[in-house]
């Protein structure tokens, strides 16, 4: 047998196996039973306009706030952790270890309930605001480590070259190191963004006013009103509608960056 024929044969077999497995899963599912519980078209149509204009919109807004906040705070923490001043380093390390180690749900609970009781102070923006502050704090812990790794990945020669041109260290960091660092960490930052989109679903624990509901809370609410799980499926699809184009966009950006390098 010729090598190319054999390769084509093996490929054909692999395709056949793939198709058979997919067919097997589709045929073996009990569609008649699952359909009324999860894929009820009338209920999907019923929740659709609102789940898009209220819930999906809120999810996007919450993610944007948490990501921008996390990015700024994370950058500060990363610079603190690289600082030659020891107390700053300790503070940043302690912060990162603490909030990277706690589940986001518990941090949200703490900000929504424990802090108002302890300090008789309510975070701005009500319960959603308290939840968002918690999300910013948690995501900053992850983002700080990512940014630090990015900064450390920029070749030392870049700093030396900039300094020898007479730039001071802050200006070097701002115009030479950070742009390169962010280019390097685009993929892990995208990851963090996608995780944040999903973590907004934890805000429900803080309590949500009607207009503040994000996708998961909205869908669970619709589930109870309709006594059917279809709204959860609609929400799941909407999460994908948000995340898939986003990751495609970042992949495109990344290719563009590579060419520019």
């Amino acid at each position: 047998m010729k090598r190319s024929t054999r390769r084509r044969l093996i490929q054909g077999v692999l395709y056949a196996v793939f198709a058979a497995v997919v067919l097997f899963i589709i045929l073996s599912a009990d569609w008649a039973t699952i359909q009324p519980y999860f894929f009820n078209v009338d209920i999907a149509a019923d929740v659709f306009p609102e789940i898009l204009t209220i819930a999906a919109k809120n999810t996007v807004i919450y993610t944007a706030i948490a990501f921008v906040g996390g990015l700024l705070l994370g950058l500060l923490l990363a610079l603190m952790k690289l600082s030659p001043v020891l107390p700053y380093r300790w503070l940043a390390t302690g912060y990162i270890e603490l909030f990277r180690g706690l589940p986001a749900l518990l941090v949200i609970f703490g900000f929504a309930y424990a802090i108002p009781i302890a300090f008789q102070w309510r975070p701005p923006g009500g319960n959603a605001g308290a939840g968002l502050i918690a999300l910013i704090i948690v995501s900053a812990a992850y983002i700080a480590e990512t940014i630090r790794a990015g900064i450390e990945a920029v070749p030392k020669g870049q700093v030396e070259a900039a300094r020898s041109l007479g730039m001071n260290s802050a200006w070097t960091m701002l115009t030479v190191v950070l742009p390169q660092a962010f280019r390097i960490i685009t993929p892990p930052l995208t990851n963090e963004l996608v995780i944040l989109i999903k973590d907004t679903s934890l805000l429900f624990i803080a309590g949500m006013a009607i207009g503040d509901r994000e996708l998961t809370t909205f869908a669970r609410d619709a589930l109870t009103n309709q006594a059917n799980a279809t709204p959860l499926v609609v929400a799941a699809l909407l999460y994908l509608v948000i995340t898939l184009p986003l990751t495609q966009l970042v992949a495109k950006l990344e290719r563009h960056n590579k060419r520019g390098r």
Partner: protein
Amino acid sequence: MLSKKSAMLAAMAAMAAGALALSACGGGSDDAGSGEAGGLDLVSEGSLTVCSDIPYPPFEYEENGEYTGFDMDLMKEIASGMGLELAVQDVGFDGLQSGAVLGARQCDIGASAVTITEERKANLAFSDPYYDSLQSILVPTDSDIASIDDLAGKQVGVQQGTTGATYAAENAPEAELVQFPSDAEMYAAIQAGNVDALLQDLPVNIGHTEDGAFTIAEELPTDEQYGFIMAKDGSEELVAAVNEQLTALRDSGTYQEIYDSYFAE
């Protein structure tokens, strides 16, 4: 030679998978049920498997490592009346109300303070009503809220997706409703001052008045009743058997005994 053999093996595997897929479409749901007790198609033979969203005192909660409460005590009696063991599974309210836990055959029946509504009847089978529910408003003792009319402009905690939430939306339209996943968060929220009042089922609110910091501002009569839930299709015999037991419990006075042990004042 060896590579030819592996290609053949792969082809055979593909054919086997195809054959499996074909045979699977003949299968379906007829092998799903296992237990048969007096014509009932039970999830687990010899047991009445009950799903409940625990805790929700005084209807269902854990005490000394055992599930107890009004719903659970009734279920114990109903199961023993049917000659069955009681098996309790703690599940989320979402899975219960969507009917998914019943459709997935995780349990035979749901007992979780579920109010009978027309919407739910479309997707679930209900037993006869077993409890008349009252809504109520819980406020801090020093609050100036005395009735539902005072809720306008106030932040009012309700449990997400419950009839209490619907009641509040209809009867206190000026109130700012804040939804919480369960009573645990609602109670924490009123303690934290995040909300001015809670509107939910009376017995649950009464539980929060015990230490004196909170009080019931108003009891709100509704025509709501709780029912046990079962799968919409194929549960006709189970519904009949459960209703028969409920009637027997009311006739024998056992229902009243259980009722008094939780709700007598």
